[in-house]
Amino acid sequence: MVMEIVCPAGTPAALRAAVKAGAHTIYCGFNDETNARNFPGLNFDRTEMRSGISFAHEHGAKVLVAINTFPRAGSESIWHHAVADAETCGADAVILADLGLLDHTARNHPGLRRHLSVQAAAANADVINFYAETFGVRRVVLPRVLSVHEISAINAETDVETEVFVFGGLCVMAEGRCSLSSYATGLSPNMNGVCSPASHVEYEEDDGALDARLGGYLIHRVERNAPAPYPTLCKGCFSAGGKTGHLFEDPVSLNAERLIPQLQKAGVTALKIEGRQRSKSYVAQVVRNFRAAVDALDAGRPLPQGMLARLSEGQAMTTGAYKKTWR
């Protein structure tokens, strides 16, 4: 069976591009704080979501709606409405992280398929089975901290489908629990759907060097012609203890395309591409690449050579935790 390619879409145009490029499934979100990519000019209003889902269904693709931030006390209705509207729009599943929202959805929308977001950081079979037994979760997006061997061990102990990231930006380890953006700006991906919100980012080019500030803090300076990273604290370059470097993580992108056969053997159902903030050009290129890879694997052909490096943050790539080699 061909592994499922799950592709991001930040706009209706990106959704159509993903479908045309061969995505089996597209994930997207409403244009508010209920999804973890609440960026200026991105996402779908209710009308766009309905027509986007119709377009995908007409072409045999599915749409998952990410409602994967954590509801604010007193404002839970915003998240409840999002789940109800996703069902009304015809979503094939919702991607949730918050226990309360999972419970609400299981009780009030039992026919709506539920996936567990990476934001829930479910990293072992016990917790995944708990989500399945308690809230009827059918698929879990695994956090990017697991090796292929660990993913295999999880799949051996659960019937819940597993979806893993294969391309795109990397986060620091405990996803859904990161407070770095909150520390610098007061806004976080967990509560507001924005990591390092653009409204708090400033760039300044001086004699070829590019300075990036987040919430007023200088977080990195790259010299002339050196690749630039995203303006997130986790990718910041800091001086401490007499050394200067990327203390949290290097500004590189995940690319696990060469590991697809191993991920298939490990029992993975779906391969997820990060990047709802990216353009339709990115979406089309990455989807074509990965669709060709899974089709080749299914047909017993060698994997095609990838062409994705120039789309990567810092123009550099890693296989992340899948092949752990800690420094």
Binding site: P40, Y203, L210, Q277, S279, R291, Q315
Partner: protein
């Protein structure tokens, strides 16, 4: 794993030279009229801009001696061409080929940012909203020009195709066909 830089074509020197002498007022008026025609055909673009609809964007093709000052004005845009540096809410700088490639969806904005072919200064949120709004609008500037060219449309299409081949500039929207 690291990779070589993306190659972005340079704007023809003749165009840059011509823009040193072209009168800017008629050019600005023509571009404003053109942008209003596009605005009429793509109203959703302005909805996506949201609160940034009143921003002033400085679009700076770094290989040309002019900048474009774009005011979206909630669907009634104006474009002023200037030979000054220009100040605005946000400044987006890069080779003309990169800016045209972004408009036509041929390039990814983040990838151009990573490779330093694109520089954003000022209000980053406004610049991001503009980029996302344009990406969703699926513009084709050459098509917008030819549909108002009446009997000259066919010849103009051929001229644009020739210019695109000759310069490497992305003057039309690439085909978006079904792969599967």
């Amino acid at each position: 794993m690291s990779v070589p830089q993306t190659q972005i074509p340079q704007c023809p020197v003749a165009l840059a030279t011509a823009l040193r002498f072209v009168p800017l007022v008629p050019l600005s008026l023509s571009l404003t009229a053109f942008s209003r025609r596009i605005a009429k055909a793509h109203p959703d673009m302005f909805r996506r801009l949201g609160k940034h609809n009143r921003a002033l964007f400085v679009l700076d093709p770094t290989d040309l001696p002019v900048v474009l000052l774009l005011k979206p004005n909630n669907g009634l845009p104006t474009i002023t061409v200037s030979r000054q540096h220009g100040d605005g809410t946000a400044r987006i700088s890069g080779p003309l080929a990169a800016l045209l490639g972004l408009v036509h969806g041929a390039f990814d904005g983040d990838a151009l940012f990573f490779s330093r072919d694109l520089v954003i200064q000022g209000d980053t949120a406004a610049a991001l909203a503009l980029r996302n709004a344009i990406d969703d609008a699926e513009l084709d500037l050459a098509h917008e020009v030819t549909i108002v060219s009446g009997p000259l449309a066919r010849s103009l299409e051929q001229v644009i195709a020739f210019a695109e081949r000759r310069t490497g500039l992305c003057l039309t929207r690439p085909e978006d066909s079904l792969s599967w």
